[in-house]
């Protein structure tokens, strides 16, 4: 199938790419841009390992056609580091709280946590659980993940 040009913002930079219109966004992010934080887990929108933000909302990039990203603002985990490559507070909190074991689900969980930690309001633990309910983790039992998100949200609120 003929390739098609898309123009979009990827991790704060304007990008142009010629893509196959049958490609999923996750395939393009991994294959063309080497953004391997985007994991192919289930590939059918059940596990959340491929979660990215598009215009500030969480999407499973495996069931999002890459052509739909034209004109949009896409953020992957790689876009969370600062210019010197230092990781962000939420990533550090996952490490500190032991919210990582095998690590496969971690980028997806961190992307799903962004709407919580960037929100002006405080989420209860139940609300945090709901916001991460589209992400599966088979190692941690989730408790440490909720701890890491809650801790980061609290420290960001205090900093304001």
């Amino acid at each position: 199938m003929d390739k098609q040009k898309i123009t979009f913002t990827l991790n704060h930079e304007k990008r142009e790419e010629y893509i196959d219109p049958r490609a999923s966004l996750s395939e393009v992010l991994r294959g063309e841009f080497s953004l391997t934080s985007v994991k192919h887990g289930c590939n059918v929108g059940e596990c959340g390992a491929c979660t990215v933000l598009i215009d500030g909302e969480t999407f499973n990039s495996c069931i999002y056609l890459a052509i739909w990203a034209d004109g949009k603002d896409v953020l992957t985990l790689e876009g969370l580091s600062d210019v010197n490559g230092n990781i962000s507070d939420i990533q550090q909190a996952f490490i500190d709280e032991g919210a990582i074991q095998c690590g496969f689900c971690t980028p997806g969980f961190i992307m799903s946590s962004l709407p919580i930690i960037e929100s002006p309001r405080t989420f209860t633990r139940d609300e945090i659980r709901k916001q991460i309910s589209g992400n599966f983790c088979r190692c941690t039992g989730y408790e440490t993940i909720v701890n890491a998100i809650e801790k980061t949200a609290n420290s960001r609120h205090k900093a304001k």
Binding site: G45, F59, L65, S133
Partner: protein, 293 residues
């Protein structure tokens, strides 16, 4: 890579309708959370698709001059829930679609896709049925208005002709005004699951909150398609707000349904759920409306 035979990307509704007329076999791809998965699994592999996801003119919610609420079909579940018009006038619809899948699915899944799939478990369907939604269906030949009550023809089958696309979902003011609703989804997990049974009730009480002026009740997974329980509605009309109201609704609701046994639940368990969820949703809706038991 998704196995499409061909993918069309219209830029306007007119282009989409023209493409659908030229390719009646093509699937309309909205958010894709059903079609892309079935393409991946092979069931729909090799299909020709018309992606309408980029048509922003088919997104959003507004109130028309006569008070009718117009929901454009590509509005995502999360945008329905967050919409101030929905939150003010039909919050139960926002609450119902907030129980679909998980956050990522609610961001991509569309209300139009939900009802055009024609499955009985669609979380938006019972509430839209209970509110007498009216559908605007377009083709190159013009626009057809169809009550949602007549849309489902069978499991996965809806009254959309091969050249048609759903372009609007309307809820008349007379249906939603001064009503209070409750949706209950019974499922095996709290997220990422399909309803074992869904029940949506809305009520309008008399000014003194002692009599039911009107009660509407609809179910998902209680029959091959989403259905209204008309016997229960009739029995509840004019009823006093007291403990026996729940029994009246539940005992009549079971006359209107026809659930099946599936791997999720037996017919018998679904009958029990229909009866129990009728009671609970009725009680909650009446209490929201100011009724006291």
């Amino acid at each position: 890579m998704y196995d499409f035979e061909k993918i069309y990307q219209p830029k306007t509704i007119e282009q989409a309708l023209k493409l659908k007329a030229e390719h009646p076999e093509a699937l309309i791809l909205a958010g894709g959370s059903d079609i892309l998965i079935k393409t991946r699994s092979g069931k729909l592999a090799g299909s020709t698709v018309i992606s309408i996801y980029g048509l922003d003119e088919l997104r959003g919610v507004c109130i028309e001059d006569d008070g009718t609420i117009l929901i454009r079909p590509l509005t995502s579940f999360s945008h329905i829930t967050a919409n101030p018009i929905i939150a003010k006038y039909i919050p139960v619809l926002g609450e119902a679609v907030d129980q679909v899948g998980g956050p990522q699915i609610r961001n991509i899944g569309t209300i139009g896709g939900n009802i055009c799939n024609g499955v009985t478990s669609a979380d938006s369907a019972s509430t839209l049925k209970a509110y007498d939604a009216v559908l605007e269906i377009a083709s190159v030949d013009g626009i057809r208005i169809l009550p949602y009550a007549e849309f489902n023809l069978g499991p996965g089958k809806v009254d959309l002709h091969p050249n048609e696309i759903l372009t609007g979902i309307r809820i008349p003011k007379d249906s939603y005004e001064n009503t209070y609703g409750q949706y209950i989804k019974y499922s095996q997990r709290n997220a990422m699951d399909i309803a074992t049974l869904g029940c949506s009730v809305n009520v309008r009480l008399s000014a003194d909150c002692k009599t039911v002026e009107r009660l509407r009740i609809a179910f998902g997974v209680a029959a091959p398609t989403p259905i209204r329980a008309l016997s229960a509605e009739k029995a509840a009309t004019g009823a006093q707000v007291n403990e026996s109201l729940m029994e009246t609704v539940a005992s009549n609701a079971i006359l209107d349904v026809n659930p099946r046994t599936s791997w999720r639940a037996s017919k018998e368990f679904r009958m029990q759920l229909i009866s129990e969820l009728s009671r609970r949703a009725t009680r909650a809706a009446v209490e929201k409306a100011g009724g006291k038991f």
